[in-house]
């Protein structure tokens, strides 16, 4: 493998000294005691005797032992930075830390085995992650072992742009400091470009740097910015912050294109709150969510009402909503030339709903336009939501980037106003619209440094790469939410010769932390005289200043991972904007309704592309389209029909003079008519492309990003989409999208549920005949368990976090685009997604919709509307597909149901799959001969077959087939070989370790003591696992719940997995 040279058996090998090379030629590196033996032999003559025999025997033993010593498996032995209290081989250690992938900064809990981080879950102390974690965050553990990481400080090679010369830290420090001082002397400007930083210590490090180099500016760039909200709040309330949204308190949520369950701001936190507000047990209220959007988003699929909207016209509808509410509140309405109403009286309906829940409702918008956001603020003011569902006092720090500043920086840089530029954890050459300008600007500077961990697009332009640590190797702190501090601690010493960015800055700023003056007693830490200690001490000093004095206190915050200050009392801010004044700006934002919109979005897995090169992220299917390994243009059926475009075709997408050629098409049910969507974050180069390092996955849509009212704008009106010749098959994990009217997902409405808890689930029970009595997993005396799982379809958003979590926990192989195309993905848990098209009010939907589309600013009668419809249908055939934009969606997690009467077990000839005495359907991998009969006989189709040898196979090298990547493998789970069947084991390894733990602690294993990987990762808490034999366990209660049912119960498979009916909070009339 290409990265072999990364592992050395010692310095000598690394430096390849003469001695070493010479020694390598010998069989044994060390000299062997040959000479003595033979010398003695000579003196004795050749007559060998007993003593000779003993000597030779001794010699051979020595030789063998020396030979044994010679090959020591240094490869994955990594010493500890701070020696943990106990390291028992085979026992996992857990450390609380903070996720460093995006600036949301979720608190995480890192599982390490023998010093290797192998799994990341949420830290339940953290108010951000609330114990769960998004798919991307979980997958980030693999980038720690990414062979594409730079092995040390580097400099792009002069000759070839793709090569780097690894330098010495001392060398790079000397050169950089020299240049910095020159710039400082010449009074030149230096810029430190970062994404939003809310780490107190990092900020203070930057300040120290500024004090040394006085002309330094700190520029914040967020790849996907929330500048609009920040500026709107600055204008409205004088607070340039993103507020904290309390979804758990919001009884009505109206969102204009904000995917708050998917990628909008702090979605994990919001999902948790959303789920809480939608709990039906024992509540006489349940939140109602209304979504207006163009792309089908996760929030849209989970909304009670989803109204297709043309995002470029969002202003119309936002104002319409404002006016509707203003009317109720008796305030002046906004004078708009265009006002509007969506199909089915959506705006009116939402207005009523909101007004009823005045004070405990929430209106949000995904738009990054400050003006629109200001109107949203106005709406929330009308609804008196501030202080209840919106908290400006305990605000969020997760996004602080102001686009104007970054734009200014860009122009200055390209004008050569900067002599020095430092990129920290940001990649503007890739993820900003003005990448060319920046690339050119960098060349103009005297000094350009990047802290990138891999050779990303920006780093390639810079002079130096002061390679940063992976966040799992770093110290750090952060303040994602005002007053709640998160801590980051290394869970492994740096795998490569890398150094933390803060450390570098301190070194360059010449800051020296005086160790003698440290406020701590723990000399042991100081005695390890490592460089990293400097920032560590720096941070501790800072925290001592903030009141966490002494090891005791500091260890506690490290243990918890968080340090929460008492939250401030919430106040209702004064709204200080005359909305009339911004009407003109609003009007400007409204796009032409007959021109196609392009909505750029982040998808759930790849997000802004930071982890584009991570196989788990790539193979995770998009919750809506089930597409993996590519980004694509999602088109509405009606448009596709009119252009003769079908799935499998490709299009050329043109905005201005930017064009993406041959973009694959996915006809997305639920995509608003006259809109198209493309996911950002693709088109980055990396080994995953399979054809060498520089083949990209998908195409980069950042060049399309435009500016509107001075902020980054992801909604482009007037995109040209032309069918191109090329064909491209997207790798989808699900290709049939209708549920065929089968009783797999049970639904009801809240009103019905309120009257009768069994609503939707009260079908007459099927007559289940069996020839023998069903097994009870109870024996007298022994503490017998019956493991089972319940999945609340009402909480499940379909985000797919469990899919990645399961893959990591159980070493599920990544099979790549080609195999997914062949429908051979290996995920043990999948999320079935079914569409239904709804024909609200049983009206002729196309016409209704057309009316809403064809709004002329005047009240249009049915008649005029109808003839307009006829006109339309005359000129394009696809009118009958207009209603494809109205879609109802259900998500259903599906994994092995662990049937009590399992069809798979009876058909295996060699007993490779049998039932455990604790109710688990278990696979014996090394007994399996691969007849595949079990998979055919599985009604749930959850069994996965190893068609090829996916591990140790260069054809399937997705980063953890190489020596470094293998470190992420979970040692508790067998890596399956070719030709065997595999499937969900209900994380039997966790059950076993929990049993051992209980035994050690001399106590009975409780029904809630075991948590499966999918359960741990679920931000909505939709998955519950436990022992139904324990009457006090949560699962036992859920199994008795009126909503619980079994999928395909009529087959009498007696599954150990139950689902809970989905409850939609919709009016009967429109349901």
């Amino acid at each position: 493998m290409a990265n072999k040279q990364l592992y050395w058996k010692g310095e000598e090998e690394l430096l390849r000294t003469k001695e070493f090379l010479a020694a390598q030629k010998n069989e044994f590196n060390e000299a062997l005691p040959l000479d003595e033996v033979f010398a003695e032999n000579e003196t004795l003559g050749l007559s060998s005797n007993r003593r000779d025999f003993l000597k030779f025997f001794g010699f051979s033993v020595a030789a063998v032992s020396l030979a044994a010593c010679n090959k020591t498996p240094v490869r994955n032995v990594i010493p500890y930075l701070v020696k943990p209290e106990e390291i028992t081989p085979g026992v996992a250690n857990y450390y609380n830390s903070t996720c460093g992938i995006c600036s949301v900064g979720c608190g995480i809990n890192v599982k390490t085995r023998e010093g290797r981080p192998i799994k990341i879950d949420g830290n339940y102390h953290s108010p951000v992650s609330k114990g769960a974690l998004c798919a991307t965050g979980q997958a980030s553990v693999l980038s720690l072992y990414d062979t594409e990481r730079l092995a040390g400080p580097a400099r792009p090679n002069k000759d070839s742009k793709e090569k780097f010369d690894i330098l010495e830290w001392s060398k790079i420090d000397a050169e950089v400091t020299k240049k910095l001082t020159e710039i400082q002397a010449a009074g030149g400007k230096i810029a430190i470009v970062t994404p939003t930083i809310h780490s107190p210590s990092s900020l203070s490090v930057i300040n120290d740097f500024k004090t040394k180099y006085t002309n330094t500016v700190h520029v914040t760039q967020d790849a996907v910015s929330y500048s609009g909200i920040l500026q709107a709040n600055r204008d409205s309330f004088g607070k340039q912050v993103v507020p904290t949204y309390r979804f758990e308190k919001a009884m009505v949520v109206v969102s204009f294109g904000a995917d708050y369950l998917g990628t909008w701001l702090s979605s994990t936190e919001y999902t948790n709150g959303w789920a809480a507000a939608r709990k039906v047990e024992g509540n006489n209220k349940m939140s109602r969510t209304i979504q207006f959007e163009s792309n089908l988003s996760l929030s849209g699929t989970n909304a009670d009402y989803r109204f297709p909207m043309k995002s470029s016209q969002e202003a119309i509808y936002v104002t319409a909503l404002y006016n509707a509410l203003a009317q109720k509140a008796g305030v002046a309405q906004l004078p708009m030339v265009q006002t509007g109403e969506l199909a089915g009286g959506a705006i009116k309906q939402s207005a009523d709903a909101l007004w009823n829940e005045k004070g405990s409702s929430l209106v949000i918008s995904g738009s990054n336009d400050p003006k629109i956001q200001t109107v949203i603020n106005g709406i929330n003011i009308l609804l008196t939501n501030y202080g209840t569902t919106i908290d400006l006092d305990n605000h969020s720090n997760q996004y602080k980037g102001i686009d104007a500043e970054f734009a200014q920086f860009t122009t200055d840089l390209s004008n050569g106003a900067y002599q020095g530029v430092i990129f920290w954890n940001t990649n503007p050459v890739y993820n900003s619209a003005s990448s060319a300008a920046i690339a050119a600007g960098i060349k103009k500077t005297k000094l350009s440094v990047s802290f990138a961990t891999t050779a990303d697009e920006t780093a390639l332009e810079c002079q130096y790469i002061a390679t940063d640590n992976h966040y799992l190797e770093s110290w750090g702190d952060s303040e994602p939410l005002a007053g709640s501090y998160h801590f980051m601690q290394p869970t492994i010493t740096p795998v490569f010769d890398t150094r933390q960015a803060q450390e570098s800055l301190l070194v360059w700023a010449g800051v020296v932390v005086d160790k003698s003056k440290d406020p701590f007693t723990n000399k042991e830490i100081l005695n390890q005289n490592k460089d990293v200690d400097m920032y560590y001490l720096y941070m501790r000093n800072l925290w001592a200043a903030m009141g966490i004095v002494g090891d005791e206190a500091f260890n506690k915050v490290l243990h918890d991972g968080v340090h929460i200050m008492p939250s401030k009392a919430t106040t209702v801010p004064a709204f200080s904007v005359a909305l009339n004044s911004i009407v003109a700006d609003l009007e400007k934002t409204i796009g032409k309704k007959d021109a196609m919109d392009l909505i750029l979005y982040q998808n759930i897995s790849v997000k802004d592309g930071a982890l584009n090169n991570n196989p788990w992220v790539q193979e995770m299917p998009d919750p809506m389209s089930k597409v993996t390994w590519d980004n694509y243009v999602s088109l509405p059926k009606a448009f596709a029909m009119s252009q003769g475009i079908e799935n499998g075709d490709t299009v050329n997408v043109t905005v201005g003079n930017n064009t993406l050629k041959d973009m694959p098409v996915y006809i997305q049910p639920g995509q608003s008519n006259m809109t198209a969507g493309i996911a950002l974050g693709y088109g980055r180069k990396g080994k995953l492309g399979q054809k060498g390092l520089f083949e990209s996955i998908g195409q980069n849509a950042f060049p399309f990003v435009s500016t509107q009212n001075g902020t980054q704008n992801l909604v482009i009106n007037g995109v040209k989409i032309v069918k191109s010749e090329a064909k491209y098959v997207l790798a989808q994990t699900q290709t049939h999208h209708s549920i065929e009217g089968r009783d797999l997902v049970r639904e009801t409405t809240f009103d019905k549920y309120h009257k009768d808890p069994t609503a939707g689930n009260n079908k007459p029970a099927p007559h289940l005949y069996t020839l023998w009595e069903t097994k009870e997993y109870k024996k007298e005396g022994a503490p017998n368990h019956h493991w089972a799982m319940a999945i609340d379809l009402n909480s499940c958003t379909g985000c797919g976090s469990c899919v990645v979590s399961c893959s990591i926990e159980n070493n599920v192989p990544v099979v790549g685009r080609e195999e997914v195309r062949r429908r051979r993905e290996m995920h043990w848990i999948r999320i079935d997604r079914y569409f239904t098209f709804e024909n609200r009010n049983n009206v002729d939907y196309t016409k209704e919709l057309f009316l809403s589309r064809d709004y002329e600013g005047k009240n249009i009668t049915k008649e005029t509307g109808l003839e307009a419809v006829d006109k339309l249908e005359a000129k394009n055939k696809d009118a009958q597909f207009l209603h494809w934009e109205n879609v109802k969606v259900v998500h259903q997690p599906m994994m092995c149901q662990h049937c009590g009467q399992a069809p798979c077990e009876t058909v295996c000839p060699v007993l490779a799959t049998t039932h455990s005495s604790e109710g688990i359907n278990q696979m014996t991998y090394n007994r399996c001969i691969g007849t595949k009969y079990c998979a055919n006989n599985c009604p749930y189709k959850v069994r996965r077959f190893n068609w090829f040898r996916y591990n140790d196979n260069d054809k399937f090298d997705f980063h953890f087939n190489n020596d470094l990547g293998k470190m992420v493998i979970n040692p508790d789970v067998t890596v399956r070989t070719r030709g065997v069947m595999e499937k969900c084991s209900m994380c039997v390894q966790s059950i076993q370790s929990a049993k051992i733990k209980a035994k050690r602690e001399r106590k009975q294993l409780g029904g809630n003591d075991v948590k499966t990987a999918c359960q741990r990762s679920c931000p909505a808490g939709a998955i519950v696992f436990g022992d139904v034999n324990d009457p006090n366990s949560e699962i036992a209660k859920l199994f008795k719940n009126e909503r619980s049912y079994r999928v395909l119960e009529e087959l009498n498979t007696q599954t150990a997995v139950k689902y809970l009916t989905k409850v939609r909070n919709v009016e009967e009339t429109t349901a």
């Binding site: 699900q734 290709t735 089968r742 000839p909 055919n936 189709k941 068609w947």
Partner: protein, 450 residues
């Protein structure tokens, strides 16, 4: 001793003497191979080569080289397995059941039919073996042997295990039956042998047969007993094969009608294949006098009967599905007829139900070239039947999320064609080195006695 034979048409025409029979049937063995034999054999050998190649590929890289996926995990492999096993039924059936029914017309064809059985079962066995993910362990883990798992035995609930026993039993019993039948004829060849090699080998296999009446006496008893047990055996084998599907929960498989329906299908396809072979054989080796139009006609009648039975089963399936009221069952069958694989279903219907009906006409039953064409149609139709049952049931099951399409890869196709290579290679060797027609039995029904 043939007292009933005056009225009936002769089973062997051309007023042969006993000696004529011997000489004519031994001719291919004693003479140099004809060019047509050489050509045919080379062709078959080439396909055998393809089999070797494709199986090697499968073993080297894995079952992934086939077109299977997470939903359709049995495709052409099991289709071909059932197809070949089905063909393998005619032989034993002809020799056993027709023997019990004292159907004398069987005598001139049962030898080749039995040979066909054995070769077909050999071809069939390839598929269940190589469709296993881990053939190298599966080969013996599927047998009740002590093992290092402590020791983990077998699952006698599994139809696949029943298959292991059924197929191996069927194969070995057919082999014994066939060999016993061969012994007297081998002895005949031995006694006519001119070359040392032939002397040695035929003597070796004739086991010192002299044709003593005492031996004949026991011989008759033994073949009667073997026929007696082979009859339920032959029925049981395809019944068990059908249970691979019938005992599952897959809609379209989970049907009680399968055993009789599969057996009928097996006889149908078996006779189809026998016809194909004999029409060629009688021409190439000019055995027209032994394998007369009468024989062909009799077989055509069987084909027509069984074809109609199978067709009836198809229709019954639909009725049962509709009557069951199980939506999944109902969908499975609607999907067969109208789904993406409709073409497979309708070609099955045409070939198996409609086509054989032409045998109502005597001309159709008595025109060799036409019979030949139709026998091919029957084979194709029966292959499609298995494809329809396996693939169209699997590709759309209970959960629509898992619905997929399946298409074979070049490797799968290669293996299928390769098995034909194996089959015909064996058959050509057989026709060269062993008497294709049972001489002793034919002699016993000669009519040239006053």
């Amino acid at each position: 001793m043939i007292h009933d034979s005056i009225i009936r048409p002769q089973l062997v025409t051309g007023d042969k003497t006993l000696h004529d029979v011997t000489t004519e049937i031994c001719r291919p063995i004693e003479n140099k191979p004809t060019t047509s034999w050489k050509v045919g054999f080379t062709l078959a050998a080439i396909f055998l080569g393809i089999l070797a190649l494709t199986l090697t590929i499968t073993m080297l890289f894995g079952i992934g080289t086939w077109g299977l996926n997470k939903t359709v995990q049995w495709g052409w492999d099991i289709t071909n397995f059932v197809f070949w096993v089905g063909i393998g039924h005619a032989g034993t059936l002809i020799s056993a059941i027709l023997l019990l029914f004292r159907q004398k017309w069987r005598m001139s064809i049962n030898r080749s039919a039995e040979a066909m059985t054995i070769f077909a079962v050999m071809c069939a066995a390839i598929f269940p073996l190589f469709h296993m993910g881990r053939l190298w362990v599966g080969m013996y883990w599927a047998l009740p042997l002590p093992n290092a798992f402590g020791s983990l035995w077998l699952n006698f609930h599994s139809p696949l295990l029943w298959d292991v026993f059924a197929i191996s039993t069927y194969f070995s019993v057919s082999l014994v039956f066939w060999y016993l039948g061969l012994i007297p004829d081998i002895a005949t060849v031995r006694d006519r042998a001119t070359t040392a090699g032939r002397k040695f080998w035929y003597n070796f296999f004739s086991m010192g047969w002299t044709g003593s009446v005492r031996t004949w006496n026991r011989y008759e008893v033994v073949s009667l007993v073997l026929a007696g047990i082979s009859t339920p055996l032959v029925l049981s084998v395809h019944t068990i094969v059908s249970m691979d599907f019938a005992t599952s929960v897959v809609p379209g498989w989970h049907t009680t009608i399968f055993p009789p329906y599969f057996v009928a299908g097996a006889i149908f396809s078996g006779f189809g294949m026998v016809l194909t072979l004999l029409v060629i054989a009688r021409k190439v080796m000019n055995y027209q006098d032994f394998i007369t139009i009468g024989h062909l006609e009799a077989m055509c009648k069987v084909v027509m009967l069984t074809g109609t039975m199978v067709g009836l089963a198809y229709i019954t399936e639909f009725f049962v599905a509709a009557y069951s009221g199980v939506e999944y069952e109902q969908y499975a069958f609607i999907n067969r007829a109208t789904g993406p694989y409709w073409w497979a279903y309708w070609s099955m219907m045409t070939c198996n139900l409609i086509a054989p009906q032409v045998f109502w006409f005597k001309w159709a039953r008595t025109t060799p070239w036409f019979i030949f064409m139709l026998s091919i149609v029957v084979n194709v139709g029966m292959w499609f039947e298995r494809f329809v049952i396996i693939v169209t049931s699997l590709h759309r099951e209970y959960l629509p999320s898992g619905w997929v399409m399946y298409s074979p890869t070049i490797v799968e196709i290669g293996i299928f064609l390769g098995t034909f290579g194996l089959f015909f290679t064996c058959f050509f060797l057989f026709s060269k080195f062993l008497p294709v027609i049972n001489m002793s039995e034919v002699k016993s029904i000669l009519k040239n006695r006053e």
